[in-house]
Symmetry: C2
Subunit: 204 residues, 2 copies
């Protein structure tokens, strides 16, 4: 792409290094910033330069502005229940729901032999230490229902002391989803693992 | 979205101000930058802070690092032919093709009464001055084939001195496209405005 400004060319190059952003999209974004009257480019520049100040919580490995994150320091949360997730995005997604009031533990990935990720690459040791120190009573495995996800859950359950209750998030047909559009495997498994009818479990 | 870091939250907010970028995409991009080992965040920050140095060419209104852009100053280009386009992106798209060796004139939009854009909002006066000063012999109207585009071309042709040759880019079925997928209007018009067969006009 022949851009008649080196400055714009450089900005386009760095934008197109972002995942899912091609040259054309990058150019569209940079030209938008160039015509923007509200100094969005300056705001973004400042925001990006501050990113290196972001730390990871020493306890749960979530992003944080301090050594320990807001969730871990909150007195309002239940410290006996820890939700084990793959990534920071999962923490944010679960927080969005407003359904969980315990703490989190971010593994930083899942065991995936094909991608060369083994247990030693994940935050597992710190999870075991927390269970000891914090007196954790329940671990909720909120990990993607894939083969790698299931492998990770299986591995973890073998490492965790037997007095700790382990649960996984419910799997089945999505609320509000139509049966005919559910994939065969999900539909089949949701029949096999049917649960007794109660109003609470089935309301939208 | 409840993000446990104010710095990340701010960065997500500014990313999601970009066109076509929602909160979820913004979060994905910022978390990517956070985990990036190659200092992409710093590179982007620097690039964005420099954007305010970008100028617009005094002659053709294209982006430029100097008062007059590279294309306008190039000795290799034909100064008698000027291609009139709507936006900077069109200049880049046409330069990509390698088919044009004249100069450009960026209108900065097209006449669009519904969007409140009239001739006075476009770079038309400077185009007329250039035609005088530069001895322009041909104007190529490379403007989108829409109602607003056609209105703009019609308006311009009425302002331009009669000795200047005016042409529009060819319209018809796209090269490599299949007839059955062309829209009715394009197909109908491409039959009505058929051209004598020559090898040059029809080769892919």
């Amino acid at each position: 792409m022949n851009i008649s400004s080196k400055i714009v060319e450089d900005a386009v190059k760095s934008f197109s290094s972002l995942p899912g952003v091609g040259r054309k999209t990058a150019l569209r974004l940079v030209l938008h910033l160039l015509n923007d009257k509200y100094d969005l480019a300056d705001e973004m520049s400042l925001g990006l330069s501050k990113l290196k100040e972001v730390r990871f919580c020493k306890q749960c490995h979530n992003i944080s502005d301090n050594d320990v994150c807001e969730i871990c320091t909150s007195q309002a949360r239940n410290r006996q229940t820890v939700c084990v997730v793959e990534s920071i995005r999962d923490v944010i997604a679960i927080e969005e729901t407003g359904y969980f009031s315990g703490l989190y533990h971010v593994l930083g990935g899942i065991i995936s032999p094909l991608n060369g990720i083994g247990p030693e690459n994940l935050n597992i040791r710190s999870l075991l230490e927390r269970i000891e120190r914090q007196g954790v009573e329940e671990l909720i495995m909120a990990i993607s229902p894939t083969i790698d996800g299931d492998t990770t859950i299986y591995y973890l359950t073998r490492m965790i002391p037997s007095h700790v209750k382990v649960s996984t998030i419910a799997r089945g047909v999505a609320f509000g989803g139509e049966l005919e559009y559910a994939d065969e495997f999900t539909l089949g498994r949701s029949i096999a693992s049917r649960v007794p009818y109660t109003v609470q479990n089935n309301q939208l």
